[in-house]
């Protein structure tokens, strides 16, 4: 009997199996998976979170924080009642953490699943105080990705799989004694995914034993190492790349002195570098660094305390410029508030390339790394000058509805995102125009300097190599006369200013230089052989001097 009604309406729902697939891996990279664990610790008011990978074997992962822990009630609500994705962090309109008043990062309550990206099963241990201040603790074992969990493809294809509710794993817990020293939340796993292990291990094994021994992994060594790469952090190895990425994404202070980070103030001495926005941006960065330091949050990976390794300008001898972005308005009924900086170094690529682009930071957490397309502004960038630019945008309110579930990208059609994109594109237009103008002016100046140098070289060549027989004069002899002529009677080598056989001024000057050398040789040599020798020697000496 056909039960389909002619007309009906209802609620759209998402199948459990779709939600269940989250446990199979949601995050782009190792660093983004670790970022979620760090965010959980940050929201739990931990002052330190320690991640360890059992380097260089990578067969054991642990993440230990000293935060408020997760109560057993919360654990059971999460795993036994409501299911994964039930987050209570922002209940009762809470927006900041209780102790350090950090903006709460978590929204959905799926961060813990991030560990599932790196291992098949894991153990948690939580030591916490209940509402009456009594210490409690439990440990639990969770198996996320097991062969007992049917594959999504099988569920989709096989008729015999009736169960559409996807069990994404099994859990069991037991209550243990509270240990004050262990207060906080701990995750361990020795059931590490072979793919993670292999990638990390190979990256270490590919380093020579000597190089491996030399690596000290101190903050300063890391900092200089990241900037010593020829182009990209990928030049290091996947392990260091993961550390770098994690350090950039986490809500951490910058590496370096408070008054300098992330920009080196002493580099901004030139006239082009100074502007009203420069002062605003510097003040903003100082305030932001102070705020991040006040959050008293430390992330330690394999014994290395992470800091955001951003050092601008990344190249010496460039002309740096700094701009300030600030926005605070109600958009479609909710507040959108962001501020940040845009930095450009003229004329050199930002290195490592991972710093090129714009990094959006939501509640201080980096989302998706630096966007090289400048939120799809690339169509409007006429030159490769966008590679000179790096910037960070700190969104303090709004935009969260645009955040995709992986917390690594945005829904580009969200109203807040659209507004932010528009504001930024307007700013980019101003900034890139300014960059172009400064770059062109600097290029013009550079060209003038080169011409001057070439002209001086020609003058010096004549006085040095013609043995006083000739002096250099400039004259307008018309376009039909060669670029260089000689008046033996008057003892003059004449540069014909009307003749420009080549398109570029610099090229014409080089041609002049060669021609003058030839004429000097011709008029001072007695034989053909001598002519060639003198010509060759004059050129050699001049080019030596020039280069």
């Amino acid at each position: 009997m056909n039960t389909i009604k002619q007309k009906d309406a209802g609620t759209i729902r998402v199948a459990d199996i779709t939600i269940g697939q989250l446990s199979r891996g949601l995050y782009r990279s190792t660093a983004t998976a670790f970022k979620e664990l760090v965010s959980n610790a940050y929201d739990a008011d931990a002052t330190t979170v320690r991640i360890d990978t059992n380097y260089p074997e990578f067969d054991f992962i642990s993440c230990i924080d000293n935060g408020t822990g997760m109560s057993l009630e919360e654990f059971l609500r999460y795993f036994n009642q409501e299911g994964i994705g039930h987050c209570t962090k922002r209940k009762r309109a809470r927006d900041t953490t209780e102790i350090y008043k950090r903006p709460i990062i978590g929204r959905l309550g799926i961060g813990m699943l991030a560990i599932g990206q790196l291992c098949h099963s894991f153990q948690i241990e939580s030591h916490y105080k209940d509402e009456k201040g009594k210490g409690k603790a439990y440990t639990a074992t969770l198996t996320l990705l097991d062969d007992t969990i049917p594959d999504r493809e099988r569920i989709i294809r096989d008729d015999d799989v009736k169960e559409k509710k996807l069990p994404v794993g099994q859990w069991q817990y037991k209550v243990i004694d509270f240990d004050e020293r262990k207060k906080g939340f701990r995750i361990y796993s020795s059931d590490v995914r072979p793919t993670f292990r292999q990638e990390m291990k190979e990256s270490i094994e590919n380093m020579t034993k000597q190089k491996r021994k030399k690596i000290r992994f101190s903050q300063s060594d890391l900092q200089s190492g990241f900037y010593a790469v020829s182009k990209s952090v990928r030049d290091c190895n996947p392990y260091l790349e993961a550390i770098w990425e994690l350090s950039v994404l986490c809500p951490l202070p910058y590496y370096g002195k408070i008054e300098e980070c992330p920009v080196n103030l002493s580099s901004f001495k030139s006239r082009e570098s100074q502007s009203k926005e420069y002062e605003q941006a510097i003040q903003f960065l100082k305030n932001r660094q102070t705020r991040l330091l006040d959050y008293t949050f430390t992330v330690v990976v394999d014994g290395i305390e992470l800091r955001r390794h951003i050092q601008l300008p990344t190249e010496k001898g460039t002309t740096p410029m700094l701009y300030f972005v600030d926005f605070d308005e109600e958009i479609f009924g909710s507040r959108l508030k962001f501020s940040g900086y845009l930095f450009a170094q003229i004329a050199s690529y930002v290195k490592p390339v991972e710093l090129n682009g714009i990094q959006i930071r939501l509640r201080n957490v980096g989302i998706g790394g630096y966007d090289h397309t400048f939120l799809k502004y690339y169509r409007h960038i006429p030159t490769i000058r966008n590679r000179w630019v790096s910037g960070e945008l700190f969104v303090d309110e709004g935009l969260e509805s645009a955040l995709n579930i992986d917390r690594d990208s945005f829904n580009e059609h969200d109203e807040h995102f659209k507004k932010l994109q528009t504001i930024l594109h307007d700013k980019f237009e101003v900034v890139f125009n300014k960059i172009n103008a400064v770059a062109q002016s600097l290029q013009g100046k550079k060209r003038d300097k080169t011409s001057e140098k070439l002209e001086r070289t020609i003058r010096e060549m004549v006085s040095r190599d013609s043995q006083g027989k000739f002096k250099l004069v400039q004259s307008d002899l018309g376009k039909t006369v060669p670029i260089v002529t000689v008046n033996k009677k008057k003892g003059e080598i004449i540069l014909n200013r009307a003749s420009h056989p080549l398109r570029k001024k610099k090229a014409n000057l080089i041609l002049e230089m060669v021609e003058v050398a030839y004429r000097i040789a011709e008029n001072t040599a007695e034989t053909e052989k001598e002519h060639h020798e003198i010509f060759y020697n004059i050129l050699k000496e001049t080019l030596d001097q020039l280069v």
């Binding site: 380097y55 690596i215 992994f217």
Partner: protein
């Protein structure tokens, strides 16, 4: 309830065994090895007192990177393994072996493992298979680290009660150590076991072996008379009986089977907070030299009769200022090292 945790930072009676036994023997072994850095195996707890003690006393050198490249640590508890890595190891130090020592040492490929290895590229292993593969890999890694100069076989298990499957495996692994040590000429073994709940069969064996020693070696009989005033097993004090039994019936047969000849440097019995007794033997082994082994063995048993064991009750050891002070210095040294290698931005 959480079975843990002994706080080794305040466990003075245990430190008596370390201070009077492990340390001087390790120093002596260090001197014998001259310039070669010693390779040390340990099942250290999260406090890692033994590691920092031997480092502080110059037995284990730390390299310029802050690592202890010749120290191999094994830990089966995930939580403890994480703490050891995070707190004991310097930044990006060497990996530790996360697994049960007895399972890693005794691991052998079986037919199913071979099948699994052959089709590993094409299948997704189950949890059990993954665990076995993991054990296999760690076993190979651990076996690859042998031989060691000093082995600290200080497990949570009981070597004297093989009824339990875990303890049986533990004894097997203890015996296998002598086989794995074959590539070296000598080594120092620090072996620790609880002496409560000794299996009845083993008790009988202790007595039988004791009596055969008495009847077989007049020198041993003489030594017993002069040191204790009796050759009757039942009249000997419990601690002495167990020390002799452990040396004669547990350590010696396992070592001899694999061609090792032992020299006891000390046997220490200490009491823990729950008043349970624990025995720790310090033995230096050298390659067996055939005919002279018998006299070395007799000399060794006589030494045990005369000098061993030393006993440290939990309560009395708390009054031992010298040991307390030493433990304090080791802890202080540990904190100094942690601070030194703690990365600061």
């Amino acid at each position: 309830m959480n079975p843990r945790k002994i706080n080794y930072d305040t466990y003075i009676s245990k430190h008596c065994a370390r201070y009077y036994g492990w340390l001087p023997a390790s120093k002596e072994h260090r001197q014998r090895s001259k310039t070669k850095p010693l390779k040390y195996f340990t099942l250290c707890a999260t406090e890692a007192i033994d590691v920092f003690m031997l480092e502080k006393e110059g037995v284990l050198p730390r390299d310029s990177n802050g690592n202890l490249p010749n120290v191999i640590i094994c830990e089966s508890e995930l939580g403890d393994a994480a703490e050891i890595r995070v707190l004991v190891r310097p930044p990006v130090g060497e990996a530790i072996l996360v697994g049960r020592l007895e399972e890693l040492i005794t691991y052998q490929d079986d037919a199913q493992d071979k099948k699994l290895l052959a089709k590993l590229e094409t299948i997704q292993p189950s949890k059990e298979q993954r665990e076995r593969l993991d054990r296999r890999e760690k076993s190979l890694r651990l076996k690859g680290e042998f031989p060691f100069d000093i082995i600290n076989f200080d497990t949570c298990g009981n070597l004297l009660n093989p009824d339990d499957d875990t303890n049986k495996l533990l004894y097997e692994s203890f015996e296998m150590i002598f086989d794995l040590q074959k590539p070296t000429h000598s080594f120092l073994l620090l072996v620790t076991t609880p002496i409560t709940h000794i299996h009845a069969n083993l008790q009988t064996r202790f007595k039988r072996d004791f009596e055969s020693n008495v009847s077989g070696y007049p020198q041993i009989q003489e030594a017993l008379q002069s040191a204790i005033g009796t050759v009757s097993y039942d009249k000997i004090a419990y601690n002495k009986r167990i020390a002799l039994g452990f040396a004669k019936s547990v350590v010696t047969p396992a070592a001899r089977k694999h061609g090792w000849c032992g020299e006891h440097k000390g046997i220490y019995i200490y009491e823990n907070i729950k008043q349970r007794r624990i025995l720790s033997s310090v033995i230096r082994f050298s390659k067996s030299s055939g005919a002279s082994d018998e006299s070395v063995y007799v000399e060794d048993i006589i030494r045990v009769i005369h000098q061993m064991p030393q006993y440290y009750s939990y309560k009395n050891s708390l009054k031992n200022r010298e040991v307390k002070e030493h433990l304090r210095e080791v802890k202080e040294y540990r904190e100094k090292i942690r601070d030194q290698y703690r990365q600061k931005p």
